[in-house]
């Protein structure tokens, strides 16, 4: 199987050191994390991680199992092949003079992004969308000189009424 980007969702106990355990596992097993985002879930004591990894199906399945094996992991799902909503946010500080400001604002409008800070020489643009949208906005803004970028990494959720955090036994393995 050819390597491709996989999106894993991990629900973990909200305890100190859990992120360290997850990060350590990826390092130890030689997996590169493309992005990882961590935050609260709908349950107060469970954190939700969205992890994007590059790899073949078999190797990602192995990392999913290793992740599941951590005692504080409640559930791990590879939702790559499911119908999902994927979002990422970025803040982009771009050079803007009186000559270029209006052109930049037009681009921002087209991307349904927001300007959240204005100064004499720069703007901060807030944009939300999938990676492709963010990439193309960044490409367009490059002509104006990008001064600073921060991206959150991917968050994802399956479409429809099913949820990742539904109760039930941890999935043991894909095969059985």
């Amino acid at each position: 199987m050819a390597p491709m980007k996989h999106t894993l969702v991990a629900l973990v106990e909200d305890k100190p050191g859990v992120l360290n355990r997850v990060a350590n596992l990826f390092r130890r097993r030689g997996f590169n994390i493309d992005s990882i985002t961590v935050g609260h879930s709908e349950k107060p004591d469970i954190s939700r991680m969205t992890i994007v990894v590059d790899g073949s199906g078999a190797s990602v399945e192995q990392v999913r199992k290793q992740l599941d094996k951590l005692i504080e992991t409640v559930k791990v799902q590879d939702i790559t092949s499911e119908s999902i909503v994927v979002r990422e946010m970025a803040l982009i500080k771009v050079k803007a003079t009186s000559a270029t400001r209006s052109e930049i604002m037009q681009i921002v409008d087209i991307f349904r992004a927001n300007i959240v800070d204005v100064s004499m020489e720069s703007l901060i643009i807030e944009v939300t969308g999938d990676e492709e949208k963010l990439d193309s906005l960044l490409n367009l803004l490059r002509t104006f000189e990008i001064k600073e970028v921060v991206r959150t990494g991917r968050i994802a959720m399956t479409r429809g009424s099913t949820t990742t955090s539904e109760p039930g036994r941890k999935p043991i393995s894909a095969e059985d």
């Binding site: 360290n20 130890r28 199992k65 005692i71 409640v74 043991i172």
Partner: protein, 565 residues
């Protein structure tokens, strides 16, 4: 009831049925030790280096099937445990390690004897804890034992700040452990079990490949029934030795880099491998791309992450070995595999693998065979790592679980002597022989003091060849005999033992071997024999690195050089 952290830990240990603790104290863990006299049920064994506390706890765990417990203080005490913890992790041995930590207000300040031991042991423990809230201590200890012994067993470390040991809190015996994020699965999936049964019933050349999971699960009887019902030959891994009686007519002993040639050939020729409680370690599979090229593979293991990790598997079954084999047995049709077994017997006849050549010098193989005969196969053998370990595995015949105790996954030289301490503590009535090399023995020989202090009747056989033998063998075979850093000076081991109050004999002639062993057996207490063995003896068979299981080197018939070809 008001109790201190130290009392809470001891109370929990007693409730877990702990009887023996291996450890060394120090400043940070002193308050815990201070409470030990209040719990006379807990016997503390003072070792001479914390690494040995962990090895002894593992030896105890393997001998008894219970959780081994070790204590160490903060800083160097804790870091010294690391090798022993890693060993238990790789060999799936249940262990709880409790380390002292600097007081809470010093954590993160690089205080005296502070190390981040939970950070350090993250990848080598099944789980670990730093307890900052004394009220949680009871729950944590209970969880730690539960996690260590259930599912795939492993080591759990609990790091406890000094002031947590001392703090008094209201304590109630913790209730049942229920972790939503940890629910090891015992029962196998029935649909998968049926698929496996179909493959077994159709196979012409099946082989059972049994690992340590069989022993941990206590499934030797079920394994025997499976083998006998369908007349399936059984091969074990190194750590699976004893899970199936090696004297059984269906036993083809063990496979791998130094396994029996015929066992490797059986795997190579099989059309079905029934892998039970094992993890396809590279020393067992040799070159994995050419492992069992004609076989479908059924893989039964309690750890889902082992499925498909190293080899492709046709029918995976996640579950406890015993809980899977029990329903599987009901689906197996009695069969004969006459032709297949006949073929295996031909291979065994042509490649006996454990023949000992005629020699006037003391061959290490002959020493092991002599110990086997003197003990009538009834001893528990604990080994170091290296050639001594392989000879002990090859030339002793094991018929009962947990009678061969050795460091497999980590290959820790120095494991033998401290593990013997734990084994003898756990099974005082067993005849325990520590078969070691002079290199391996010198890594932890200070445990002679522990053996003497506890009056443990461990019999020690040192295969003294004046080399780090296994590495020397690799240098001979693959590095043009450049013996860099392998020649090994050693002390007079008998005098050394005497210094520890342990009698011993130096054996330099072949005819002294058997009388020395008999003398050791007759002596009521520990005894050491220093066998001066053939210095450049090699372990055969050997699968060279990168080769497949059947591309192996066998013992040269005369002086012929077989490698390099």
């Amino acid at each position: 009831m008001k109790m201190t952290g130290g009392q809470i830990i001891c109370d929990c240990l007693v409730k877990e049925g702990v009887e023996v603790i291996f450890g060394i104290l120090g400043g940070a863990i002193l308050p815990l030790y201070d409470t030990l006299p209040q719990f006379p049920q807990l016997h503390h064994v003072l070792v001479r280096h914390e690494q040995c506390a962990a090895h002894a706890a593992e030896g105890y765990a393997r001998a008894t099937g219970r959780v081994g417990v070790c204590f160490a203080t903060s800083g160097p005490g804790a870091t010294n445990l690391v090798t022993g913890i890693a060993n238990a992790h790789l060999d799936s041995s249940p262990m709880v390690a409790i380390t002292g930590q600097v007081a809470r207000r010093f954590i993160g300040k690089d205080a005296f004897q502070e190390v981040d031991i939970t950070g350090i042991t993250l990848p080598i423990t099944k789980h670990n804890y730093l307890v900052r809230d004394t009220a949680q201590l009871g729950k944590v200890v209970k969880e730690a034992f539960y996690i260590a012994r259930t599912g795939r067993p492993g080591p759990v470390l609990i790091d406890v700040p000094k002031d947590v040991f001392q703090e008094q809190v209201e304590y109630h015996t913790p209730g049942k452990v229920d972790l939503r994020s940890y629910k090891p699965r015992r029962e196998g999936n029935m649909a998968q079990i049926r698929k496996a049964a179909n493959l077994i019933n159709q196979a012409q050349k099946p082989v059972i490949l049994a690992g340590r999971g069989v022993i941990i699960s206590g499934a030797s009887e079920e394994l025997k029934t499976l083998a006998e019902t369908a007349q399936i030959p059984v091969v074990t891994t190194l750590l699976g030795i004893g899970g199936f009686p090696e004297s059984h007519v269906l036993s083809y002993r063990w496979l791998g880099m130094h396994g029996m040639a015929y066992a490797n050939m059986a795997i190579n020729g099989a059309d079905l491998i029934i892998a039970i409680g094992m993890r396809f370690d590279d020393r067992a599979t040799a070159e994995v791309a050419s492992f069992a090229p004609h076989a479908k593979i059924i893989h039964i293991d309690i750890d889902p992450a082992e499925i498909g990790k190293n080899v492709r598997v046709d029918v995976p079954i996640v579950g406890d070995v015993k809980a899977v084999l029990t329903p599987l047995l009901k689906l197996i049709t009695p069969t004969q595999h006459m032709d297949w077994l006949k073929q295996l017997d031909v291979w065994r006849r042509e490649h006996p693998s454990t023949d000992i050549r005629e020699s006037s010098s003391i061959l290490p193989q002959y020493v092991v065979r002599s110990i086997y005969e003197a003990t009538e196969g009834d001893a528990t053998i604990v080994t170091g790592v290296g050639q001594n370990q392989m000879w002990a595995a090859q030339h002793y015949i094991y018929n009962k679980p947990n009678t061969f105790i050795s460091s497999g996954g980590l290959g820790t030289m120095g494991f033998g002597l401290p593990a013997s301490v734990g084994v003898k503590m756990g099974r005082p009535d067993a005849t325990v022989w520590c078969i070691d090399g002079d290199g391996s023995f010198q890594m932890t020989l200070h445990e002679l003091a522990t053996i003497q202090q506890e009056r443990l009747a461990v019999k020690i056989a040192i295969m003294n060849n004046g080399f780090l033998g296994m590495v020397r063998q690799w240098q001979e075979l693959f590095h043009d005999k450049r013996y860099v850093a392998t020649p090994l000076w050693g002390p007079d081991f008998v005098k050394l033992a005497e210094a520890y109050g342990i009698p011993g004999i130096k054996v330099r002639h072949k005819d002294e071997v058997v009388p020395a062993i008999q003398k050791a057996m007759a002596h009521d207490g520990p005894f050491l024999i220093d066998f001066g063995v053939e210095p450049e003896e090699n372990v055969y068979p050997m699968v060279p690195p990168g080769a497949s299981l059947v591309e192996l080197l066998e013992a040269p018939k005369k002086e012929e050089v077989v490698w390099p070809r």
